[in-house]
Each structure stands twice: as C-alpha cells, then as structure tokens.
Amino acid sequence: MTAPTLDALDALESEAIHIFREVAGEFDRPVILFSGGKDSTVLVHLAVKAFAPAPVPFPLLHVDTGHNFPEVIAFRDELVARLGLRLVVAHVQDWIDDGRLTERPDGTRNPLQTVPLLDTIAEHRFDAVFGGGRRDEERARAKERIISLRDAFGRWDPRSQRPELWNLYNGRHAPGEHVRVFPISNWTELDVWRYIRRERIALPSIYFSHRRAVFRRDGMWLAEGPWGGPRGTEALEERTVRYRTVGDGSCTGAVESTASTVDEIIAEVTASRLTERGATRADDRLSEAAMEDRKREGYF
C-alpha cells in the first residue's frame, strides 16, 4: 500500500499536530492563548485534532482587554461550551481597578495585555503558552523559533535563541521560565484561510462583510465604542466592512469589504495589497520595530 503524498495543508497540519503532542508530552501545564481571532481558532481546531478522540488536555487563556466585540465573546463562549474546554479569563480591567495598571491617555489597551498575561502565567504556573503567531506576519517574527524560551519577566532575547534542528524541539526551562509555542509558525495568511475553508471552521461573524457605524482615524475605520471615539471632528458613518484581525476595539480597524464568505475572503486576500497587520492594527504602526519591542517585553 503506498501512502498518498501530502499536500501543503496536510504537511502544515501534521507539523502543527506534532508540535502540540511534543508539548503535551514534555510540559506539565500548557495553555492555549485564545483571542477569538482566526489564528487562535485554527489553533484550537488543530489541538482538538491532535488528541482526538480524547479531549484537549489543557485549558484556554483569554486576556480580555474589556474592549470587545460582543460577537467575539459570544463566539468564544459557544466554542468553549461545544468542545467542553476550560477557559481562564484575565480581565485587564481588574488590573486597572486595583492600580497594577494605569489606563493610557489614548485609551488603547493592547499594550496593557502584557502584565495580566505574565501575572496569569505565573499564578497558574503555566509552563508552555501556545500562540497563533506566524512568521510571515511581520519581519521581526521571521527569526522566531517554534518553541521560544521566555525568562521569568516574559522577555524574549533574540540574541540567545536556541538553534532549532530537524523536528527535535528543546523545551527545557528553569522554574519560573516558560516557553511560547507557535504551532502555525510556517503558515501564511492564505494557508490559514484555505485551511478554514477545507476544515469548515466557524469564525466570529465580524470577519465577514457587514454594515457598521465607523469613523476614520489614522487611515483606519474604527468602530464606535466605550473605548473612546469618535472624538473632535471624527464623524460616524455607515460602511460595509469586515475585520481581518480580532483585537482591542480601540485600535483594531475594519476594512471596507463586501466579502461575505470564506471563498470571497480568499479571493480578496489573494488580491490584497496590504499585509493584515499593516492594514488594521494601529499599534503596529507606531514604529517599524514596534513588534520587536513588545516581544522583548513579553507580549507575543
């Protein structure tokens, strides 16, 4: 019996499943960082496939900025209930309320996620944190390892990364340290969408075209919300939009789009002239090295 050769998605899926199983075999307390976005939803789907028919042997962690799209929270809760997973939520608001964090003048909470994330990792003694980061997202990620060591302060040191050879991952770490694990490192945005189509993976409705009241700021369409806006001369208008990433409502922009199915989104992404972060995340525009700086300080 000859085995069929693997196509690109099969190969990427097998690689991701291998990584999930390595971590389950070598770590005591893994967790999947879950935002409700497409990459983390694909991650959960892969985790389910890695351990089927047994349940996924670790919980999900959501760092909740409080600036949410209600559709995403509903999606999260439905997914967790359907799969029988355990969900840990770190509310950024709790850190603001007790003074461990201060609200930024611009109201953006994306940069505030780092401290709640690290505190929660320490509190639950998580030793491996799965994230949906991909190396094609942005130049600073191109050299990220699949299993990446973080010190007790959550910091990433690009200078002293362990070489990653064959498919032999070295996850050894000292007490207090943890690793970040990126099972879909080698996927591109298009691979993710094609996989969503092939596997019929459900996503939050905001990924698909809909009418929404939005206003223009820094070249992006932002949704109205308690996080600030519209302000000054910014005016609300109804637009046909969709989101390409899910994040903090204050800085995640919508793009004008009529793509209402996965097929239409694939067509749009194929023809796209902007990478997803460039198009929709205000905080990545701060500087070219913004991502690298945030990674150093423990954000993904």
Binding site: M1, T2, A3, P4, T5, L6, D7, A8, D10, A11, E13, S14, E15, I17, H18, R21, E22, A24, G25, V48, K49, A50, F51, A52, P53, A54, P55, R135, D136, R139, A140, A142, K143, P158, R159, Q161, R162, P163, E164, L165, W166, N167, L168, N170, R172, H173, A174, N186, T188, L190, D191, S272, R273, L274, T275, G278, A279, E288, A289, E292
Partner: protein, 417 residues
C-alpha cells in the same frame, strides 16, 4: 494539488543572498504594498535610486543596526504550483550553526557564489555542511552575471570547478543556474542576455523538483510522542509523526527498545482511519496487543528494525560557545526520548577549509565538526543518519542551562573522497 517545498539558501556575505531572496519574494508577488513602501522609503533615505530588495528580508533590530544577517530567518512565498518555506541561512562567523539549522529541515539547498570570484573558501565550507546534513538536492546559483558581461565561459569554468567539489562530497547531481539577483535574470523570468543557457530559471526548477525526500522509501519508523486514551470510548492509541517509510493496518511492527513484536490494527487521524500513512504524516496507531508503550519508545518495521545500543559512534556539529571536552555529562534527545550521556573520546575533526577529515583535538569549540564516541544511559534504537534522518539525528543539551549544544548525526554521514 499544491504541495510544499522546504529549502535553504546559503552563501557568503555580499554574494547577494538577501537580494536574491528579496527578488524571489518580489517577483512572485509575495511582498505587499506596505512592505514595498517601507523598503522604498528606506532605500531613498540611503540615497539609492532603485528599491534595495535585500531590505525586504532583513529582520531584527540588531541586524539592521549592524547591517548584517546573523540568524536563520524563515520566508514564505507561493506560486500556483507550490508553496515554499525558505530557511535563509546567513553566512559569516556563525555559518555552521546557521547552515546546520537551515539544512536540517531542507529538501533542497541553493548555494550562491559571486560570478566574479567563483568557488571560494566559504563555498567549500557551506557545501561540506550541506553534504554532512545530507540535503538531498543542491542548486549552485552563480550570481552577479551582469558584472561578468553574461559570459558563458565564466559559468562553465565555475560550474566545472564546483562539480569536482560536489562529487568529492558525494552529491549525486548539482544544477547550476546563472542569475543576476539585482537585475532579475533567470531568477523568475528567463533572461534574454543568456541565450547560451538552456536550463530552467531558479524558480522554474524550485517548482518542478520532487518534494518527497528519500525518507519515504526507507523502512517504517515512528517515535511515540503521546499515548492517547479516551475512557469514554475505551480508546488507546500511540500518537506520532511518521519519521520514515509508510505504515498500514496489518503491518508487523516492533516496539523499541523493548523489542516486543505486534501488528498494526488501525492508522487513525481525527478525520478517520487511513489505508496507509507515509513520512511526515501525524497519525495515531492502534496495535493488536496490549503492550506497555510510553513516550520515548519507537515503533519500527519488524522486518527491518534498527539496532538498539548504548554506544554511539557519531558526528557532532558543536553549536555552543562553551567548549566540549571528553568526559562531559550531558543530555541527549533522540526522537521523543531524552537520556543522560557521557562523552567519550573525540575523533577526527572536519577541516572545512580543506574539506578533509584531520587529526582530532583535545576539545571542540563553536562551529567545530568532529567524530565522537558517546555512551547513553538508556539504550537507543538508532539508524545511521545517512540512511534515515529521523532516527539518525539527535541533540546534545546542557543540563544546567537547558541550552542546545550540538546537532548530532549517528555514524559518519560525510565521507570525503
């Protein structure tokens, strides 16, 4: 069906590797508007007339400051025929570490030379490391042919020079392609300035070469990663990624190191059972007999099982600043098993300049490649690396820091003739 090719690039500093990779990304339309804009802006700031495509592929801040590439970077592009994962391995002082890392997952390597300089010391070193890691296919890209007036004689001379080296290193075939990364000749578009060249463009070759490595034709090997038990359905299966060969229901297998024989009853995935699974596929295997199997064990074809041994004769690529001396007590990770190891005598060292094995030294320093005897606490089922990469490769790990110290290859995968 589109498939996936993993390949690596290697070359010495200034041969134009960043430009070539930037060109591949640019000409396959894998670079998007905002990235082009950023590079154009940066190029104008540097006083350049045309966008410097090498800026597309330079990553971390430290490197931007120093203007050199210092670590393996992964790039992605695709054509309608195929997806590509490119391990871009920079060539300077850390070249062994980087080339070994990039080559370890590659089915093909593109080695770059500057048409004006031809085969230089760095070329020989890189070729030796690629041969040691047994990258199945090699492309020699002769770059900057615009600077030698597209002269056929130059290509022929370099090609001949390299062919001798490649043959002595055991490469079965080398494809030589004249390119200009800067101008774009023969990278994606066929050049009109090289009418004497009738071979494929670089991308054309990358698109057409078979992706399956030699692993698929070897006997079945699968390290057990995890035992999947579902109490609700009374399910018990052994999860892993097929390392070599294929496996199908009914196959006789042996569980190592214990040496117990049994047969496969089912090859499962979350999407249902498969009639057979080949190298690279993640599966869950169910077996006919109730045997005590755990993470760290290996399932292997019963008729062609590997030797189980505590004594390894191996080749090491030393990747750490801290030197290695005989007597060192370290950890060895092979497949899914990690076991204590004691380093014995050091043997011959690879002189990468002369590309020859030479008399050994007292200790190994960073980037050294040498033969070594190892004694492991647990017996390991190993194959020679030259035959099966999955069961012939291992890591050496520093117990206190957990750092990866060496890439290990069972046996002597590089014979220089």
């Amino acid at each position: 069906m589109t498939d996936l090719l993993r390949f690596a690039t290697a070359g010495s500093v200034d041969d134009g590797k960043s430009t070539l990779v930037g060109r591949l990304l640019f000409d396959t339309k894998s670079v998007l508007a905002d990235q082009i804009e950023a590079v154009t802006r940066a190029s104008v700031d540097k006083g350049l007339a045309t966008p410097d495509l090498s800026l597309l592929v330079d990553g971390l801040r430290a490197e931007r400051e120093q203007g050199i590439t210092i670590d393996v970077a992964y790039r992605y592009f695709s054509t309608p025929k195929r997806g590509f994962v490119l391990a871009d391995t920079p060539g300077h002082v850390q070249y062994t570490r980087n080339t070994v890392t990039g080559a370890s997952t590659a089915e093909l390597a593109v080695l770059l030379v500057d048409a004006r300089h031809g085969v230089v010391e760095q070329t020989r070193r890189h070729a030796a490391v690629l041969a040691l890691l047994r990258v199945p296919r090699l492309v020699l890209a002769i770059n900057k042919i615009d600077l030698v007036d597209y002269d056929e004689a130059v290509l022929t001379a370099i090609g001949k020079d390299f062919a001798g080296l490649a043959a002595s290193l055991g490469f079965e075939s080398v494809v030589t392609i004249p390119v200009s990364a800067l101008v774009g000749d023969n990278v994606v578009e066929r050049s009109e300035r090289t009418p004497w060249y009738d071979g494929p463009t670089l991308l054309g070759y990358l698109e057409s070469v078979p992706v399956t490595g030699p692993e698929i034709d070897r006997p079945f090997r699968m390290p057990v990663q995890y035992v999947i038990r579902d109490h609700a359905t009374d399910y018990r299966g052994y999860a892993g990624q097929v390392g070599a060969g294929t496996v199908a229901p009914g196959d006789e297998v042996v569980v190592l190191p214990a040496g117990i024989r049994t047969s496969v009853t089912s090859v499962d995935t979350a999407d249902g059972p498969l009639p057979a699974a080949g190298a690279g596929r993640s599966i869950t295997v169910r077996l006919a007999d109730d045997i005590d199997i755990a993470r760290g064990d290996l399932l292997a074809a019963a008729g062609a099982a590997p030797a189980v041994t505590n004594e390894l004769d191996a080749t090491l690529c030393w990747l750490a600043d801290k030197p290695l001396r005989p007597g060192a007590r370290l950890l060895l990770k092979h497949g899914t098993r990690t076991t204590p190891v004691i380093v014995g005598a050091l043997g011959e060292r690879l002189d990468t300049d002369a590309v020859a094995w030479v008399e050994g030294t007292e200790q190994l320093g960073i980037n050294d490649i040498a033969r070594v005897a190892l004694r492991t606490a647990d017996p390991l089922p190993v194959d020679p690396y030259a035959e099966i990469r999955a069961t012939g490769s291992f890591l050496l790990i520093d117990p206190p820091s957990g750092n990866t110290l060496a890439a290990g290859l069972v046996g002597h995968p590089l014979q220089v003739s």
